[in-house]
């Protein structure tokens, strides 16, 4: 298992954010984690990323981990290609960056300053930066939430393709049910710090939204949204 978590707990003062959470992610598996705000999604991701070590319970993460955050978090004072390969031990940083940027179709912004990128472009740089490290585990923290709807759809396709090529285990934290159902092998619902439901979309990809209507209704009701039922 790339990720195995047993009985993970985390509190902020009296607030129990993670409460005995269990989770496993197999190598190359794409898992989406849905949950309402405050359900502990981002906390779990931060724990797995090693940004928050003050937890109870056990967890192991095998191999290298990369993260793409909701905000791209590029260094504004380093050009795009440098952002991609900074901190990466490589003999040919420019070539490595060029290949990574070509994968996210941003070869033309190779030497640009991050401030000149659109939101979608910056997020693609962030993806390239995460993938260039050949992670065994890719953590995606609502990476498309800040993008407009059309860009978001294009990003979903791109992430699907990149995952197909690189096959890292993925944990995608999101609010977006359609995103989760369209991309993931397994969709987990987090509620009050533990996983309360698990859904498995049909394995075939790409998935047409019409085939996901029933599942979507069930996932939404797990999330407490029932106006369609």
């Amino acid at each position: 298992m790339t990720v195995s978590v047993r009985g993970l707990g985390k509190s902020f003062g009296a607030l129990r954010v993670l409460d005995g959470l269990d989770l496993t992610i197999a190598p190359g598996e794409f898992v989406a984690l849905l949950g309402r705000s405050g359900s502990g999604k981002s906390t779990l991701l931060r724990v797995l990323a090693g940004l928050d070590r003050d937890v109870t319970g056990e967890f192991t993460v095998r191999g290298t981990v990369s993260v793409a955050f909701q905000q791209p978090r590029l260094l504004p004072w380093r050009r795009v290609w440098r952002n991609v390969v900074l901190g990466l031990p490589t003999d040919d940083p420019k070539g490595t960056a060029a290949r990574a940027l070509a994968e996210v179709r941003l070869s033309d912004r190779f030497g640009a300053w991050p401030n000149t990128l659109s939101g979608g472009e910056a997020q693609r740089v962030s993806l390239a930066r995460a993938l260039v490290r050949s992670p065994e585990l890719l953590l995606l923290d609502e990476p498309f939430a800040a993008l407009d709807a059309l860009t978001r759809l294009a990003m979903h396709r791109l992430v699907g393709q990149l995952w197909d090529v690189h096959r890292p285990a993925v944990l995608l934290v999101t609010h977006d049910v359609d995103e989760a159902l369209g991309l993931a092998d397994r969709v987990l619902v987090l509620e009050a710090g533990r996983i309360v439901a698990e859904h498995v979309p049909p394995p075939a990809r790409p998935r047409a939204p019409v085939d996901l209507v029933d599942l979507r209704t069930r996932v939404l009701s797990d999330l407490g949204v029932t106006e369609y039922a």
Partner: protein
């Protein structure tokens, strides 16, 4: 809840999307900055030529120009200039090193902050020009008190801005750097220092302004050389033209160093508005 956080996020997104002005390079210094000073000088010449302004109060620009030429020709101005410039150069460098080292220490380490920040903040509340009597008692009336005064004036703004610049480093960027496997040195070099650069440059400009001010004040203390001496000596002989030449040189020096820092700023912060 969902909608709200998306809205906030979209709001965050607006800045990078809209801030895409096409590259517009300005290689020449902005000439407009010279316009108003020139107009003021012309008005002044007019007032002197018409006799509104008597030379015992204020000499005419044209007279000042002649005086400047003769002061340059006999080497008097050049000597004074070198002496004063040397004082500022030494004092500024000392203050720069002290401010950056202490600011870096306090900004980068918790212990440094705990030990360095309180005394510096306490000393900062003292009006440093008011320390002149003490400086004279400690250092006499030679070069040392003048240089010490300049160094002190420069050290505080640099300390404050370097400290703030380091402390202001974006937490999100630091986290990203950690997740990407940056060690301490890479984080310092690619995240902390570039992020502190803009504050540091502000400190540099403030420090330079203070340096010139400290020089002028410091040179009132029993100077026997330098621009301050030239000015005080001229006052005794009612030579407003020489006083003004001295002041103009002060002003030109201030402008020049400020322009240098602005050029530096444009280069260091070139990623901001490409």
């Amino acid at each position: 809840m969902t909608e709200q956080s998306v809205l906030v996020a979209v709001g965050d997104e607006v800045a990078p999307v809209t801030a895409v002005p096409r590259p517009r390079r300005r290689r020449l210094p902005d000439l407009r900055r010279w316009l108003s000073p020139i107009v003021l000088v012309l008005l002044w010449q007019l007032a002197s030529s018409t006799g509104v302004l008597p030379p015992s109060k204020l000499s005419a620009p044209w007279t000042i120009l002649g005086t400047a030429r003769s002061l340059i020709a006999d080497g008097e101005l050049g000597d004074a200039f070198v002496v004063s410039l040397r004082r500022v150069a030494i004092g500024f460098t000392l203050g720069l090193v002290i401010g950056v080292v202490l600011g870096g220490l306090a900004g980068l380490s918790r212990w440094g902050d705990a030990l360095v920040d309180p005394p510096v903040q306490m000393l900062r509340t003292l009006p440093f020009l008011g320390l002149i009597p003490l400086f004279i008692l400690w250092f006499g009336i030679g070069e040392t008190p003048k240089i010490a005064l300049i160094a002190l004036g420069v050290a505080f703004p640099l300390y404050v801005n370097v400290h703030a610049g380091i402390r202001d480093t974006d937490r999100g960027l630091m986290e990203a750097a950690r997740v990407l496997g940056f060690g301490r040195w890479l984080r310092l070099r690619h995240v902390v220092l570039p992020s502190a650069a803009s504050h540091t440059l502000v400190g540099l400009r403030l420090g330079l302004a203070t340096a010139w001010l400290s020089l002028i004040v410091g040179e009132q203390i029993n100077a026997d050389s330098g621009l301050g001496y030239l000015i005080n000596n001229a006052r005794d002989f009612l030579r407003t033209d020489i006083v003004l030449v001295g002041l103009l040189v002060y002003a030109l020096l201030g402008l020049t160093t400020d322009a240098i820092v602005r050029l530096l700023e444009r280069w260091v912060l070139r990623w901001r508005t490409p």
